[in-house]
């Protein structure tokens, strides 16, 4: 009985989630948006790190 509840509840939640993804294109796009946002944040961060490194290297190369 309890085992059945666990199995059914898990499958129902996964099913509902999947169904929403299939039937709602807007929602689909919304669900996928964070991965693009994160990707941009990471690239922005890495570019900042590179810029900092290049600035510090440039400063070190400048004649006194």
């Amino acid at each position: 009985m309890i085992t059945t509840i666990i199995v059914v509840a898990s499958l129902a939640l996964a099913g509902a989630f999947s169904l929403a993804w299939l039937l709602k294109p807007d929602l689909r796009e919304q669900i996928e948006a964070p991965k693009h946002l994160f990707h941009d944040q990471v690239r922005q961060y890495d570019r900042g790190v590179q810029d900092t490194r290049e600035r510090s290297e440039g400063a070190a190369d400048e004649p006194e």
């Binding site: 898990s10 996964a14 807007d26 996928e32 964070p34 991965k35 570019r47």
Partner: protein
């Protein structure tokens, strides 16, 4: 958009990243040294002598807590200090809070935890070995973690949260809820019910603390390293919610075939299978996200997380498989499970943690970085983890087969030895890899990590892409669905605690009330102190105290453990691994004297044993036990006592209380004897000796099982002989019938250190009987005259028959009431040499009721009675 806020890279507190990173590496190396020492002790059991703080049990506690809290805890924190500002665009709460958190995590948890555990202050609970005083600081630290990292997430909308954020939030919230289940509740809930809660934490420690943070790293590092977003955020969220729904429901699969209600066990097994499916989805998504990066990615952080992903798949599928009853029946308690846990913590989680740490380290402009050393670390760690996993998995299968086919217990110890040696070598590889990791992150030019990044990915970062955001309505739906899922996640956690903890507790309490005798015997103060010593030294980590409802367990160890038998166990001592045998019914199986010798010098009485010596509990000799040794042995003698005292009326009542419980009935129907099957028994009811195994087998059996007491040539002069009372028999001075030898080997010799060897085959017994008869060379002495025999008969009838019986059968009227419970000798089936017989009458036999007779018998009478007694021997005509 212009902003006055500092750029994201300036919001990352690199000092705290580095501080936790270094702390992680240092604690990792210390924990690995602990692990290497305990792995060496498997085949060099006297490596650390009897220094208690370096004993196997205490080091084992320190090893696992060090890996989880010292290494993984610090490494995850280092990653969080890097990841949270990147994920949220905001700084963590405060540096001051971070310094407090660093201080508490390392100086109020790790260092005191290790010191206390090694000093003998601990909890005998898997993944919860630090004592309660330290647990309080862990809870405080977890609370500070939430305060430090969570606010940044909640300043943003849920619909923009990336999957790593979800995992971080989930880990921080659920760990605080799960931690007390295994660390505090078993101190308050006894025995079987406490074990049910303990099982929750065993799995939640991995499932709700380690796994989410490791997956947060994988989902973070993979897109950052490949330069592409992950394959599917939808699948990642499906995996996230699936894991958080199902992980908490897995806990009871650590106690399958136990007395915990079968419905809870089956639920955990079903959840484990479902979890395996979810993990396949997660891993598929991760692998799809890495497509194109190659099997051997150039960037070292990606290399580590890629391998972590593979390990995650293997360990999760393996976990789902081994939770199933058919496999669990065989491999539970074996090294298979140790292989599984090492693959989880040192494979999946550690590789993820290293990947995250390197990723963050590469972005610290002032940090040193040595790429060559990190490549070495990767190679050594991959080989080390795979070697350890394969080696221990095979070892587990070997042990499982030997346990299932009823082989003598020590056969599994003997046959495991090569695997344990290989395990140590694989541990050395791991140690080397971790040293290389430390070198990689502490040597080399400053800022070389960032340079490596530029070299690995020379193309400039593309322009920032504005995320494709859906209309606001869809965002609200998504936010609402996440809120619903969040509530459902908490509900599943509450359900797991209710279903796998609270409900079994109630059922077990009802069972206990129905089955327990009216006034079951608890522990005396001394026995309770002994229990503390047993827990402190980690005995439960080699000797389980749960006989499962399986035929193999019942045959080997006796009747399965019932809930009421564990009602006084705070916390439970069920254990999760059997290196030595289960001790649930060990009471009265051995003599007190044997226990002292075994604790003092284990290999003296059991040459194949790998048990550590506890000579520190003695004042220089087994004859001089300290109070702690006395208490420990007193506790060992209680194991199984309550059940035995209740038998048979108690078992009949208990069986009647659960007439329809098929599993519970196994506890009563399986064995008519609730004691350990190896316990000594009265003479008789012996199966006939079969055809003897080969002489070589006999010699091997002798060397492994008998020589410690009886000596290599049966002279009664083995290493343990000096301490045993009565001393082991000098077999050269005795002559036995085959039936007597069969009886001694099957039933043991009650009251002495000679146990029953019923786990050996009749062919083994026959081979040993042949060997012992070969040792026998009793000299008859001078020929006896008819007059001497007549005198001897009169003396015997007057002084000896009351114990040894009128016919010498050892069945005199006083035989059952002797002050020392060693049965009088049956002279019909064993004969002593003349000289030894005279010696016995002159000096008595220490450790038995046989006293010296020189004060009552003359020399002539002694000689006469020895001649008479020798004449009673009837060879094998009985």
């Amino acid at each position: 958009m212009q902003t006055t806020e500092p750029a994201t890279e300036h919001r990352v507190d690199t000092l705290l990243v580095a501080a936790h990173g270094i702390a992680a590496l240092v604690t990792l190396l210390i924990a690995v040294v602990f692990g290497l020492i305990i792995s060496l002790q498997f085949f060099l059991p006297d490596l650390t002598g009897s220094v208690l703080p370096l004993g196997w049990g205490r080091l084992r506690y320190a090893h696992t807590q060090g890996v989880m809290f010292g290494w993984l805890g610090n490494a995850f924190l280092a990653f969080l200090y890097h990841a949270v500002p990147v994920l949220t665009g905001q700084a963590v709460t405060s540096r001051r809070l971070g310094l407090w958190l660093f201080g508490i995590w390392n100086f109020a948890v790790m260092i005191p935890g290790w010191i206390l555990v090694l000093a003998g202050v601990s909890q005998p609970l898997e993944w919860a070995e630090f004592p309660l005083a330290v647990d309080v600081f862990i809870l405080i630290a977890l609370g500070l973690c939430a305060l430090q990292f969570l606010p940044a997430f909640f300043r943003r909308g849920l619909e923009t949260l990336y999957v790593s954020s979800w995992y971080i939030i989930g880990a921080l919230v659920f760990t605080i809820m799960a931690f007390p289940m295994g660390n505090i509740v078993p101190e308050l809930v006894p025995g079987a019910a406490g074990a049910a809660f303990s099982g929750l934490w065993i799995h939640d420690a991995v499932g709700l603390f380690v796994t989410p943070l490791a997956l947060a790293i994988l989902y973070f590092v993979i897109p950052a390293s490949t330069g592409r977003p992950i394959f599917s955020h939808f699948l990642s969220m499906l995996g996230f919610w699936g894991l958080f729904f199902l992980y908490p429901l897995n806990g009871t699969h650590h106690y399958v075939f136990s007395v915990i209600p079968m419905a809870a066990q089956i639920s955990a097994i079903a959840a484990s299978a479902l979890l395996g499916v979810i993990v396949v989805i997660v891993v598929t998504n991760l692998l799809m996200s890495m497509r194109g990066a190659g099997v051997f990615p150039r960037e070292v952080a990606l290399r580590f997380v890629a391998m972590s992903t593979i390990f995650y798949l293997i360990v999760s599928v393996q976990g789902a498989m081994q939770a199933q009853m058919s496999l669990q029946r065989a491999v539970h308690f074996t090294d298979w499970v140790v292989a599984h846990s090492h693959l989880a913590m040192l494979g999946f989680a550690t590789f993820a943690a290293i990947g995250g740490l390197i990723h963050a380290w590469q972005r610290i402009s002032w940090a040193r970085y040595n790429a060559a050393a990190l490549s070495w670390a990767y190679g050594l760690l991959v080989v080390g983890v795979i070697a350890m996993f394969v080696d221990l998995t095979v070892a587990g299968l070997v042990q499982a087969e030997l346990w299932l086919d009823g082989s003598p217990w020590l056969d599994s110890v003997r046959d495991s030895r090569p695997y344990w040696i290989v395990r140590t070598f694989s541990g050395l590889l791991l140690g080397g890899g971790f040293v290389a990791l430390l070198v990689g992150l502490t040597t080399g030019p400053r800022g070389a990590g960032a340079q490596t990044l530029a070299n690995d990915r020379p193309e400039p970062a593309a322009a920032v892409v504005t995320p494709r955001l859906a209309p606001a309505g869809a965002g609200r739906v998504l936010t609402m669905s996440y809120v619903v899922a969040g509530v459902a996640g908490v509900a599943f956690f509450v359900m797991s605690v209710s279903l796998l903890g609270v409900w079994p507790q109630q059922i077990l309490a009802e069972q206990t009330a129905a089955m327990a005798p009216p006034n079951p015997l608890g522990l005396t103060a001394g026995e309770e102190r002994g229990r503390v010593v047993y827990a402190r030294e980690g005995c439960a980590y080699c000797h389980t105290q749960q006989i499962r409802y399986t035929d193999a367990d019942i045959t080997r160890f006796g009747s399965p453990t019932l809930a009421w038998e564990t009602r006084f166990d705070y916390p439970h001592l069920w254990g999760t691994r059997r290196i030595g045998p289960d001790l649930s019914r060990a009471g009265a199986t051995r003599t007190e004297n044997w226990h002292y010798v075994h604790l003092y010098a284990p290999r003296a009485v059991s040459p194949l044993s790998i048990m550590p010596s506890y000579a520190a509990l003695f004042d220089g000799s087994p004859d001089r036990p300290t109070q702690e040794a006395r208490d420990l042995v007193a506790y060992l003698e209680t194991l199984g006592r309550a059940r035995e005292l209740a038998w048979p009326e108690g078992d009949a009542n208990a069986a009647a209380a659960v007439p329809d419980d098929r599993w519970a009935q196994m506890a009563f129907a399986a064995s008519s004897l609730n004691a350990h099957p190896g316990r000594t028994q009265p003479r008789g009811n012996v199966p006939a000796l079969g055809s003897p195994a080969s002489a070589d087998t006999g010699m091997m059996l002798w060397a492994h099982n008998c020589a410690g007491c009886h000596g290599e040539t049966g002279g009664g002069d083995g290493p343990a002989a000096q301490w045993l009372r009565p001393r082991p028999t000098n077999l050269a001075e005795h002559e036995y019938t085959r039936s007597r030898l069969a009886d001694a080997l099957w039933n043991g010799v009650h009251g002495t250190s000679m146990p029953g060897w019923r786990d050996h085959s009749s062919a083994d017994h026959a081979a040993l009987a042949e060997l012992v008869m070969g040792f026998s060379d009793p000299q008859p002495g001078p020929a006896a005259s008819a007059q001497q025999l007549s005198l001897g008969q009169r003396v015997y009838a007057q002084h000896c028959a009351e114990c040894h019986g009128a016919t010498g059968a050892g069945d005199g009227f006083a035989a059952n009431d002797l002050p020392v419970p060693v049965a009088p000798t049956d002279f019909r089936n064993q004969r002593v040499s003349y000289a030894a017989g005279v010696g016995i009458l002159q000096d008595g036999v220490d450790g038995t009721s046989m006293a010296p007779w020189t004060d009552r018998l003359s020399a002539a009478e002694i000689e006469a009675v020895v001649h008479y007694v020798r004449s009673l021997f009837d060879g094998d005509n009985l």
